[in-house]
Symmetry: C2
Subunit: 112 residues, 2 copies
DNA sequence: AATAATTACCTTGTGTTGCAAGGTATTTAA
DNA sequence: TTAAATACCTTGCAACACAAGGTAATTATT
């Protein structure tokens, strides 16, 4: 019914993906395909059907803005850029992430 | 429409909660209310409506078993216990968690 | 004895998220 | 002119967390 190992990873990605996107865009603007590559090279497998709706959601929430840019090879690219509101959200996410990492450490206790 | 800071935490909990439950039950058997308390003391806020379906899901997947035990104060308690299959799943989750922590570090890059 | 408080269990309905599996449009190479 | 590559996007589904309810057993209070 499910590939256990892959399902485990998929579930853990939830909620962390938005954090990853904002973190990537904090450094420099990027378009969807390049974000996919950066995630892939960081070992986080994400598919288009996940990323596009996510970017649109974050744009609708005012966390991102975008501009079109012609490409020398292929169709135009939609470059996303983090907004001030996005930076604030990212700050909250940094805190939330650190808290969760600490929580897991606490629960795993002396085992780890 | 949403409390941003709390929503961020709620989303990040997704997928990690199952990991927390198995980790808690790895150490010793426990019943729902005591699991709630342990999570709370580790700073992870979870409500009953989240925990009960989760325990039932994990039991149905064969990751947990349970037994009833009378209580000296109140109704009987349902003590959950991790199974061998649960331990295997926990092993996969340990790996998945470490991978995600590494991934975030990679993405945050030299910033952190 | 009747009522309230406490402790423990559980369910239903809703919104969010990730994914599989599709699709459209532009440019370049064959 | 056809195919390949690149880039965009949508629809339908399943899993999850949560709010807001509810039931049942024991003990304390009136």
């Amino acid at each position: 019914m499910e590939n256990s190992a892959e399902n485990v990873r998929s579930q853990m990605r939830k909620g962390v993906l938005e954090y990853c996107i904002l973190s990537i865009l904090e450094k420099k603007e990027a378009y969807a395909s390049s974000i996919l590559e950066e995630l892939k090279s960081a070992n986080m497998i994400v598919v288009e059907g996940t990323l596009y709706p996510l970017l649109i959601r974050q744009k609708n929430q005012g966390l991102l803005s975008y501009r079109w840019e012609e490409s020398t090879q292929g169709p135009p690219r939609k470059y996303y850029c983090i907004t001030e509101k996005g930076r604030q959200q990212l700050g909250e996410m940094d805190l939330a992430w650190q808290e969760i990492v600490e929580t897991i450490k606490t629960i795993k206790g002396q085992v780890l």
